[in-house]
């Protein structure tokens, strides 16, 4: 499994299609012509790499990385997990970026006008590199639900947005993580874009009492799987032989 090996074909049945009328914005932002399938070249099996020099010491601590006059209000939470590829191998030193609303469901963004207040001590973004076992973790405030203009009364479940790179640009992925037991999940129009129910369930982080800190904070576990690489055997086109 060498770094130049091609990636497995993406299983598009596990992902939301582009055109999903249940989520209205997708209707005008989805291509009508099918995607052209492209066998991997160097342009797809390579991708940007990042080092600890790109990051600051508090980048994975959302409780402290924007604290001005004290700590942010809300449920202090650890979120952790592994980034693996489809072959079950850890994806090491890859950049994981997260962003989210505050405890009241309000985003620190100039375009968010929801009535819930901004928390002066909460920014809502963080980033980290996975370690040698593919593990990542960050500390945050559990986000609140918030309304959005899809149907008249659409509410997003509590969620954290994720961006992950992997080792090749073809593995690039943005997704969202939800929290176990949230009653809004079955009503959500965004998670409903995923036709495969078992695939959608893999976006739900599980309460992880073993990783919690007694008398301090709870923890959730969220593993991410990126595309695997082909076995090379005898006919890897990129490597030749």
């Amino acid at each position: 499994m060498t770094p130049e090996a091609e990636f497995h074909q993406r299983d598009r049945d596990l992902h939301p299609p582009a055109y999903t009328p249940v989520y209205k914005t997708s209707v005008l932002r989805s291509p009508r012509v099918p995607l052209w399938s492209l066998q991997n070249s160097l342009s797809e099996v390579t991708g940007p790499t990042f080092t600890p020099d790109d990051l600051g010491p508090l980048d994975n601590d959302l409780i402290r990385n924007y604290a001005k006059s004290g700590e942010p209000i809300g449920e202090q939470t650890i979120v952790h997990g592994y980034v693996l590829d489809g072959n079950g191998r850890p994806v090491v030193n890859t950049l994981v970026e997260v962003w989210q609303a505050n405890a009241g469901g309000r985003y620190r963004h100039r375009n968010d006008t929801y009535i819930a207040p901004i928390d002066p001590n909460f920014g809502g973004c963080g980033r980290m590199l996975t370690d040698e076992s593919g593990h990542y973790f960050f500390r945050t405030i559990k986000p609140g639900a918030y309304p959005f203009r899809n149907r008249v009364n659409s509410w997003r479940p509590a969620h954290i947005h994720y961006s992950v790179f992997g080792t090749g640009f073809a593995q690039r992925l943005i997704t969202q993580m939800y929290f176990e037991g949230d009653p809004l999940i079955p009503h959500d129009s965004i998670i409903a874009t995923i036709p495969d129910k078992s695939a959608a369930e893999r976006l739900i982080a599980l309460l992880d009492l073993n990783a919690s800190r007694p008398l301090e904070c709870l923890a959730y576990r969220f593993d991410i799987v990126l595309r695997g690489r082909r076995q090379t055997f005898f006919e890897n086109k990129l490597q030749g032989s």
């Binding site: 049945d13 291509p31 390579t46």
Partner: protein, 212 residues
């Protein structure tokens, strides 16, 4: 169509979800309206030590009604001026430019809808074994509200007509007219070289997107 059976013990890929309208908070916090990280990623990647011709890539991204989308994340990945990627998997016998990561990130402007990337023009990269060399190109990846799974495309250069005619990827596109959606015309403005790459998500002028 059937998913790969779990009994083969491959792990299924984590499903994609839209980046949403507030993608800037996590990936371009300055555009969201605040400062938080010491080092910010940007769309300006041609630092002073980087070898190559300085170019600006700019354009807008249009939805199915012809209006420009003003909340789109744009990322690009490209080789250096010698045609080599800054990555362990690229073993071409070409000079590596260590100060050039090759990756840019920006967003379309909230007011104008224009995205801007300041970079260098990439060299030609080897094609798959047995295939022709690829024409110079920049790999694009788009994510935003309303886009459920990131869209991959490529930008080719309008002043590389001969190389473009031979490019193995452009040539898999069945309709020759649609290849033109990937070719950005070159112009100059105040001494700056501009490639204008407008992307049409849907409709008569729809850009070619790839399943890579």
């Amino acid at each position: 169509m059937k998913a790969i059976p779990f009994s083969l013990s491959y792990l299924p890929e984590t499903p994609s979800q839209t980046a949403g309208p507030y993608v800037h908070i996590g990936l371009i916090p300055k555009q969201a309206g605040f400062e938080i990280f010491e080092n910010n990623f940007s769309g300006n990647i041609a630092g002073p030590g980087v070898v190559g011709e300085r170019i600006t890539i700019e354009g807008r991204i249009f939805d199915g009604t012809g209006h420009s989308a003003k909340d789109v994340l744009v990322e690009t990945w490209q080789a250096n001026a010698a045609g080599r990627y800054n990555h362990a998997a690229d073993s071409q016998d070409k000079e590596l430019d260590k100060g050039f990561r090759g990756w840019a990130r920006t967003g379309t402007d909230f007011a104008t809808g224009v995205y801007t990337i300041r970079t260098i023009k990439p060299g030609c990269v080897a094609g798959r074994k047995g295939r022709k060399t690829m024409a110079p190109h920049v790999n694009f990846w788009l994510a935003s509200r309303g886009i459920n799974i990131g869209l991959a495309t490529r930008m080719y250069f309008g002043d590389e007509e001969t190389a473009n005619l031979d490019d193995p990827v452009l040539n898999i596109i069945e309709q020759p007219g649609r290849r033109e959606t990937l070719v950005a015309p070159r112009s100059e403005r105040d001494g700056t070289v501009i490639y204008t790459f407008d992307i049409y998500l849907q409709g008569d002028r729809e850009t070619v997107f790839f399943d890579v």
